[in-house]
């Protein structure tokens, strides 16, 4: 009896979830035209912000405050992970957790790949206003290069201080740029504090490349600090 109820509950839950999704699917009709805010973004983005990639213009300028909130959530996550793991932190001079020694293939491959991955991450966040991609994607790519370094050579720890310096200065500059937008342009995080430049070139769209580079650095530093604090914990004896 007990066994059958335990089996029945997940099935009922799955059925309920399935019916909700089915109702959504059955009631779906594709829109013929863009709704009002979407058509505003589609028609006005180029002359408002000068960005080629509409998604970036929305994320960095129109919804810039939301992006600041997202970055703050990520920062809080990194801070809490660091706080929780600080109890089991390896003392100075000890090597921390480490791994079984990594193979020749991983070590050599890492040496070759890490600069390329870092370069690609920087490319993604610097070209956020022109091509798909941006700070979050680029930051995650940068952090994956850091993770590869940690995997291949665990003795090579990054300086926590450097990571937190990059993180906090990027965050501070981001907020200051937002406030400058309030002073010199239309509002908080307005990108027109810098000239819009010629459409489609790398130095265009006002402050968007600058802001996205800062977001990229901040996201990369936050992910790296989570990974480093995971790495720096000591095994329980």
């Amino acid at each position: 009896m007990n066994f059958t109820t335990r089996k029945a509950i997940p099935l009922v839950l799955l059925l309920l979830l399935g019916s909700v999704f089915y109702a959504l699917f059955a009631g779906y009709t594709p829109d013929e035209t863009l709704n009002r805010s979407a058509s505003y973004y589609a028609s006005q983005t180029v002359q408002d912000t000068g960005a080629q990639n509409v998604v970036t213009a929305i994320i960095v300028t129109y919804r810039g405050l939301d992006t600041l909130g997202e970055v703050t959530v990520l920062f809080l996550t990194a801070a809490i992970v660091g706080l929780v793991l600080a109890h089991s932190k390896a003392p100075k001079g000890r090597s921390g957790s480490g791994f079984l020694p990594s193979g020749e293939l991983l070590t050599t491959g890492t040496r070759m790949l890490v600069p390329v991955i870092l370069l690609f991450g920087a490319y993604v966040f610097l070209n956020g206003h022109l091509t798909p991609g941006g700070g979050f994607q680029g930051g995650a790519i940068v952090a994956s290069a850091m993770l590869l370094m940690l995997l291949s050579d665990s003795a090579e720890r990054f300086s926590h201080r450097l990571i937190s310096r990059i993180e906090s200065s990027a965050g501070l500059t981001y907020v200051i740029l937002g406030l400058l937008g309030m002073l010199f342009a239309g509002g908080f995080l307005d990108n027109r504090i810098l000239p819009l430049g010629s459409f489609g070139s790398i130095l265009s769209a006002g402050a968007i490349p600058l802001i996205y580079a800062l977001i990229g650095l901040k996201v990369g530093a936050e992910f790296s600090s989570i990974l480093t604090s995971l790495e720096a914990t000591e095994d329980s004896q």
Binding site: S97, G98, F99, G133, Q137, A140, S144, E231, D235
Partner: protein, 83 residues
Amino acid sequence: MTLLTFMAALLAVASLGAAVIALVTRSTVVAVLSAGLVSLFASVMFLLLAAPDVAMTEAAIGSGLTTFLFFFVLGRIRREGTK
């Protein structure tokens, strides 16, 4: 049936298959890899639906960083096991 619908159906079946493999397999490594594969299929789906920005995030975080993180922790657990 248009090509897009066909591709979407194919991706849906493939990601369902990968998700089932992740659930039923006995090997943790295979489970982690197929969970990453679900994210990869999802990001291809986003790309087909003309959302390359979301696709990049999904590929970088969902299938890249998360899979790596699982292996990272798996390595820790193995090391503690050999002690």
